[in-house]
């Protein structure tokens, strides 16, 4: 087995730099806000060092942007990295706070050798603007140690790896503090010297745990690793150094997130029709926006235009600290409808979905209505309006059997204020609704009013005359 370890020396910095505008100098401080944990290259040029006190850093760089380290955030960012790595390797292990382990022995044949795997990953890292130190090893711990110390090589030769490890100083081998001191007192300086100790002696004089650690590095004791499983939903978050006040400013990070969603969906071979955007504010409840497309979609461009439409409609209620994109609903992708040979037939189905989603995004879900008849004798109950659904159900109604009805139905009956000029057909008695309390008992007539309108009028049981529709 061959393991590859990816060590991200400043993962949070990389993440923040990706999701936002260019900021001058940026540091991550520890939870209590006393000490700098990571400093970006710009800050380092200005003299800020890791483990420096924050006050010192601020006096060096007054316009320093500060992010507080958050374990949950780090874990989330690490998981984001695992998600893209999963496209290249199957067996992945998360090593919090900033490492990923991948089994690559089985990938060599797929990619055509170790150097091809290495190169592929380097390209991806570069594309994602991530800094990572890579190292290979015949055991997980060997890979980890070489990577974290920046001495990783692209080799699958166990002897060579052991040789590299042997030269490693004790401090770099990540023993716990007490063990390290005891080993140094024994006069040992490199890992190689520890390796050459007889195991029994080591277990007796140090501790069984230390022996197990050494054996796991060398590979003489199994070190099983539980593989990471990718989640069944898509979730991405962009954190901003400075709060974003204009909704236009959200579009840049959104574009990147949506293109990431697109590649994720492509890779899953699935579509989605519902995006959830969560805008986190500093003091108020997060804004949740649900963006629906009317049909399955996976491309970033239509999503982006829908989101920007929605953001135009809905101004931000407070500055935005971070933006989260969640997709939970995945739909199987249908094979795309091909254009005809000459490429002339536009795909009407797709055009329909585009139009409907645009209209719904701007006007709201309820603005578009589709009409359907209902089996009821009472005119106001004989129809219904429903949300638009593109189903090609076939309505087989014998059209001749339907009674004559006006094309316009008034919202509610209007009192008849004049005597109609001419009376035509009638009466047609409609009586019903005793079963649900909406009693209707009317005689309907067709009559023409003075101004030429052809009206559908009725006389109620309570002796009132009303207009209920126009023959438009």
């Amino acid at each position: 087995m061959l393991w590859l370890y990816l060590h991200f020396p400043h993962l949070v910095l990389d993440h923040i730099r990706r999701s936002g505008e260019h900021v001058s100098a940026l540091v991550i401080v520890e939870g209590s806000g006393q000490k700098v944990v990571q400093a970006c290259p710009t800050a380092k040029d200005l003299g800020v060092r890791d483990d420096m006190r924050l006050k010192t850093a601020i006096s060096l760089v007054p316009e320093l942007s500060i992010i507080r380290a958050d374990q949950q955030q780090e874990a989330r960012i690490l998981e984001d990295q695992a998600r893209w790595l999963y496209r290249y390797a199957a067996h992945i292990v998360l090593v919090p706070p900033n490492g990923l382990l991948a089994e690559i022995g089985s990938l060599q044949r797929l990619y055509g050798g170790l150097s091809a795997v290495w190169r592929t990953l380097e390209e991806v890292l570069h594309e994602r603007q991530l800094t990572a130190w890579m190292g290979t090893g015949h055991t997980p711990l060997a890979a980890r140690l070489t990577a974290r110390n920046g001495v990783g090589e692209r080799t699958s030769d166990t002897a060579r790896i052991l040789q590299t490890l042997s030269k490693m100083p004790l401090l770099a081998a990540e023993f716990d503090g007490r063990t390290c001191i005891r080993l140094q007192r024994l006069g040992l300086n490199t890992l190689g010297e520890v390796f050459s100790l007889p195991p029994k002696e080591m277990a007796r004089r140090l501790s069984p745990e230390t022996l197990a650690y050494i054996q796991k590095i060398r590979g003489s004791r199994p070190d099983p690793q539980a593989p990471w499983q990718p989640p069944h939903h898509f979730r991405q978050q962009a954190d901003f150094v400075q709060d974003i006040e204009q909704s236009q400013g959200l579009l840049f990070p959104l574009r990147r997130m949506l293109s990431e969603l697109e590649s994720d969906l492509c890779w899953r071979q699935q579509d989605t029709d519902c995006l959830l955007l969560e805008l986190q504010h500093r003091h108020t409840e997060p804004t949740r926006l649900r963006i629906r497309t009317s049909g399955p979609e996976h491309r970033a461009e239509p999503f982006l235009s829908l989101v920007s439409l929605r953001l135009e409609q809905q101004p931000l209620k407070a500055p935005v600290m971070s933006l989260r994109l969640i997709v939970k609903r995945f739909l199987g992708r249908e094979a795309p409808f091909k254009q005809d040979l000459l490429g002339e037939n536009q795909d009407l189905n797709e055009a329909w979905h585009t139009l409907a989603s645009r209209l719904q995004a701007r006007l709201g879900d309820n603005a578009m209505k589709q009409l359907s008849p209902r089996a009821d004798h009472r005119p106001e109950w004989a129809w219904s309006a429903s949300q638009v659904r593109r189903t090609n159900r076939v309505t087989t109604t014998a059209t001749n059997q339907l009674p004559c009805r006006p094309l316009w139905l008034l919202q509610g009956p209007q009192p008849l204020t004049e005597t109609p000029k001419v009376w035509f057909t009638g009466p047609e008695r409609i009586s019903g609704g005793w079963w649900d309390g909406q009693r209707v008992h009317r005689d309907y007539y067709v009559a023409q009013l003075d101004n030429g309108q052809l009206a559908w009028v009725f006389r109620d049981i309570r002796e009132g005359w009303f207009i209920h529709g126009w023959f438009g």
């Binding site: 055009a351 129809w383 189903t391 059209t399 004559c404 094309l407 919202q411 009192p415 009638g426 126009w470």
Partner: protein, 229 residues
């Protein structure tokens, strides 16, 4: 005649009213032979605005569009009703043979949304017909709609009040609609592309309420003591 005009005439570069050029604009027949004849055998122009100017609904204005709506909905084209004044009554539409799957009713809150929606519908290839009931439109807004209509190739009919007949409008076809005593619809062509306006015709619309001309009113005479209110 001035010399300049003479030269222009000789080069045949002056359009003279008596020469009717057959327009080749795409159009949909209205389904009413009499009206088609008055419109030069064309009908509703596609990729342009049409206006129907009328005082009140209920004079047969929808029946005028029924043949077109039937044809388009059965051909799988969508028919949009934008801000209709009343509810299009589904049982009546079915009776007219219209595929309700293709009928979409949209209500907008303000004029900005209205224009935006109309433009989007006009530009989409799924649209066959857009019927819109605008409240009050300025000339430049109609111009904007006209440009959007040209981008697509569907029929767009705006229903406006009759007093707008005096105002000019960039619409390609303008019809003034009036009812008459025989439940027919009098159509007065105010403007059409490629020829002179002023044609009039009367379309029988009595069938919309299943009435026939020659038939006497089939009303059951009853006591009407309280009818006159």
């Amino acid at each position: 005649m001035s010399e300049l005009l003479n030269t222009l005439m000789q080069d045949a570069r002056v359009w003279q009213g008596h020469k009717h050029n057959k327009t080749t604009q795409p159009a949909e027949p209205t389904g009413f032979q009499a009206l088609d004849n008055q419109l030069g055998g064309l009908g509703w122009p596609r990729g342009a605005l049409s206006e129907c100017l009328l005082d009140t609904p209920g004079i047969g204005e929808l029946t005028l569009l029924m043949p077109l709506m039937q044809r388009l909905s059965q051909a799988g084209k969508t028919v949009f009703w934008l801000n209709p004044p009343h509810t299009p009554y589904a049982p009546a539409l079915i009776r007219e043979g219209i595929d309700l799957n293709q009928i979409i009713m949209i209500h907008t809150e303000d004029k900005g949304d209205f224009l935006w929606t109309l433009e989007n519908c006009l530009r989409s290839p799924v649209t066959g017909l857009v019927m819109a009931w605008p409240k009050k439109l300025e000339a430049r807004e109609i111009r904007r709609l006209q440009l959007a209509a040209e981008a697509g190739s569907n029929v767009c009919v705006l229903f406006r009040e009759r007093h707008y007949a005096e105002q000019n409008s960039p619409a390609a076809l303008r019809l003034e609609l009036e009812p008459d005593d025989q439940q027919s619809l009098k159509v007065n062509v105010l403007k059409r592309r490629g020829s002179w306006p002023g044609q009039r015709c009367s379309l029988a619309m009595a069938h919309r309420a299943s009435l026939l001309h020659h038939e006497a009113p089939r009303i059951v005479q009853g006591p009407w003591p309280t009818m006159a209110r």
